[in-house]
């Protein structure tokens, strides 16, 4: 469950980076966001979300899996909102750590 939750959190970070305002405050120094990067982040974000749903579905079945996904997404997006408001510098690092943790558990 915790790995699936990490996937949800990663999807939240990626989806937030696909929004111009957050992309600029987090990654880009200049005020220009690339359309290509926006699409890439969105695609990766939704892919992570889909994969996390598959994990939840595998763990709990359709109904409980869906409930778990929505509930986890709610709290993960709240955390991401707070990070974007108060600890913007941390987001890149957190994303990196998440990728590392998830890659360890991927096989």
């Amino acid at each position: 469950m915790y790995i699936a939750a990490l996937w949800v959190f990663m999807s939240c970070i990626l989806l937030s980076l696909s929004i111009k305002r957050h992309y600029i405050s987090t990654i880009a120094q200049s005020k220009i966001s690339n359309k290509c990067s926006t699409l890439l982040f969105r695609l990766c974000g939704f892919s992570c979300l889909t994969f996390s749903f598959m994990l939840f579905f595998d763990l709990y079945g359709l109904a409980l899996g869906l409930v778990s996904l929505v509930a986890t997404f709610t709290v993960a997006s709240l955390i991401q909102t707070l990070l974007l408001s108060y600890l913007t510098d941390w987001i890149n690092k957190i994303l990196l750590v998440l990728v590392l943790i998830i890659s360890v558990f991927l096989p």
């Binding site: 469950m1 929004i19 305002r21 986890t72 709610t74 997006s77 709240l78 408001s85």
Partner: protein, 517 residues
């Protein structure tokens, strides 16, 4: 209500939210507390023994039947709830015979001695949770109507909120602090948009839950107004297979213990949540057994045996209760609303989503006042309505958590042997809330509105932070011993209270800093 469609929706959103905002806030807070009702009751009855090791369920049934034979020999129903899953004690329930009054009674068992544990009379988490739909001091049916109306207003506010939010995707994950009205709008959006699936589900399912009361026309139209006819309707909607015909004909009934080998051969050992013998001493007696695990979001496995012959009448693994599509939908929605299926982690997520719902209502009420305050400052005049909302907001938003803290404090301060202490506990909640509501108006001339916020936040912080100390002083349990003994429910409650205390304290400190500038 005029102008463009969006403006009209904005008007509807504002007033549908504001009119019943305080009641919706109360419903959300008490309903959210209900996700931990059993844990709250565990804290409010510190006399309950800690059960850490798995105890053989057969011996519990044996112990319970011995106890029930002495305590309730004439009861029409016996139930035993095992200390498993979220049930933290072994509890016996029985329904008195009709001649004795037909009331339900219960005892918590000490599994070392088999005798009942004398616990304090308390409303516990159950009463707090029930307040979100039966409210208090008013007839049940009226309460159902009011809560249904609130749910309807909430549903309207949610839908119109989605319509009026122009940048719902662009401003996802966005909160801009220290920007006055902008910040209030942002945080209101954060609390509304991020958990919107939860808000929609909880509101709609709340409406569905109470539909038999709020939309009685359909039932009355088909079944009439007679109470017996209404019962007929309920039986036809909630009919279950495997139950023998109701009978008053006397007959010998089996002991529940004699069925345990068969149950264990089907489900394995120590898997039961509860076992009950209904219709004792009659030919219609049956034994109902429920598994402790849920199947997805629905109630887990169930077995029904004939009470006299021990014949298996129903096995939910092999057949299911007859259900129409609408009944299935009703069950799914009510199961989702109650969240009984939720594991500890998911329960916390439910709890956080519920608090976000309360936050959404509170920030909506704050936003209404902030908008008008800025406008009033520009014009130089302020309306009585604005003042009323501003002062009420203090007593509602912070006053209610203070009142709930008072309920917990009353649980420990009111003498154990006093009569009707349950009523006193609840009264203390409402008296405190009333005081918190009127105090801003009384103190308005002496203290500024900012000062009132800070004072109530500090009071809330103190009450919550001191709760673990109160627990240690008024019972033989405390945070340290609970952690050492592995009583995670008791420790979890104390730690959560500390967390709430710190949050209120942070809020007060933040406001003090902000308003000093």
């Amino acid at each position: 209500m005029n102008g463009t469609f969006r403006q009209s929706m904005n008007w509807l959103h504002t007033w549908s939210g504001l009119l019943l905002g305080s009641l919706l806030y109360f419903i959300f807070i008490t309903g959210t507390a209900g996700y931990f009702d059993k844990e709250i009751t565990h804290w409010m009855q510190p006399e309950r023994p800690i059960i850490n090791e798995g105890i053989d369920q057969r011996s519990i049934v044996k112990m319970a039947e011995q106890h029930l034979n002495i305590t309730a020999p004439n009861a029409q129903s016996w139930w035993v709830v095992f200390p498993i899953a979220r049930s933290y004690s072994a509890v016996t329930w029985w329904q008195e015979s009709d001649e004795e009054g037909g009331k339900w009674k219960s005892n918590t068992l000490d599994l070392q001695t088999g005798t009942p544990v004398i616990t304090r009379e308390t409303g516990g988490g159950k009463t707090l949770y029930a307040m979100h739909y039966v409210l208090h001091y008013i007839p049940k049916n009226l309460a159902y109507w009011i809560t249904s109306l609130c749910a309807m207003f909430m549903f309207i506010a949610l839908i119109t909120g989605v319509i009026v939010h122009k940048k719902i995707f662009k401003e996802f994950f966005t909160f801009r602090p220290n920007k006055k009205q902008r910040s209030w709008l942002d945080i209101h959006n954060v609390f509304s948009v991020l958990p919107i699936p939860f808000h929609l589900m909880i509101t709609y399912s709340g409406l569905v839950f109470l539909m038999f009361s709020s939309m009685p026309g359909v039932i009355v139209g088909s079944y009439g107004t007679d109470k017996e006819k209404y019962n007929e309707f309920v039986e036809s909607v909630f009919q279950k297979s495997g139950h023998p015909e109701h009978s008053h004909e006397p007959a010998n009934t089996l002991s529940m213990l004699s069925l345990m080998p068969d149950i264990e051969s089907r489900w394995g050992e120590n898997t039961l949540y509860e076992i009950g013998l209904e219709g004792r001493g009659t030919a219609g007696a049956h034994v109902q057994v429920k598994h402790h695990e849920y199947s997805g979001i629905s109630q887990g496995e169930e077995l029904i045996y004939h009470g006299s012959t021990g014949e298996l009448l129903f096995d939910s693994m092999k057949e299911s209760h007859p259900q129409s599509a609408s009944k299935k939908l009703y069950t799914v929605l009510t199961d989702l609303h109650e969240g009984n299926f939720a594991s500890v982690a998911l329960r916390w997520l439910y709890f956080i989503s519920g608090l976000m719902g309360a936050g959404m209502i509170a920030t909506g009420m704050m936003l209404w006042a902030t908008k008008r305050r800025e406008k009033a400052q520009r014009i130089g005049t302020e309306s009585a309505g604005l003042k009323l909302v501003e002062y009420s907001n203090v007593g509602i938003i912070v006053g209610l958590p203070i009142a709930i803290a008072a309920y917990f404090w009353a649980n420990r301060i009111v003498p154990i042997d006093i009569e009707n202490r349950e009523v006193l506990e609840i009264n203390s909640l409402f008296i405190t809330w009333f005081l918190m509501l009127i105090s801003p108006f009384i103190l308005a001339k002496k203290i500024t509105i900012q000062g009132l916020w800070i004072k109530q936040l500090l009071l809330a912080s103190a009450l919550y932070l001191l709760m673990p100390i109160l627990n240690a002083l008024t019972s033989d349990k405390n945070l340290v011993s609970a952690l050492l003994q592995g009583d995670w429910v008791m420790a979890g409650f104390d730690l959560t209270m500390i967390l709430f205390g710190l949050m209120f304290g942070y809020g007060a400190q933040h406001l003090m800093k902000k308003w000093k500038k």
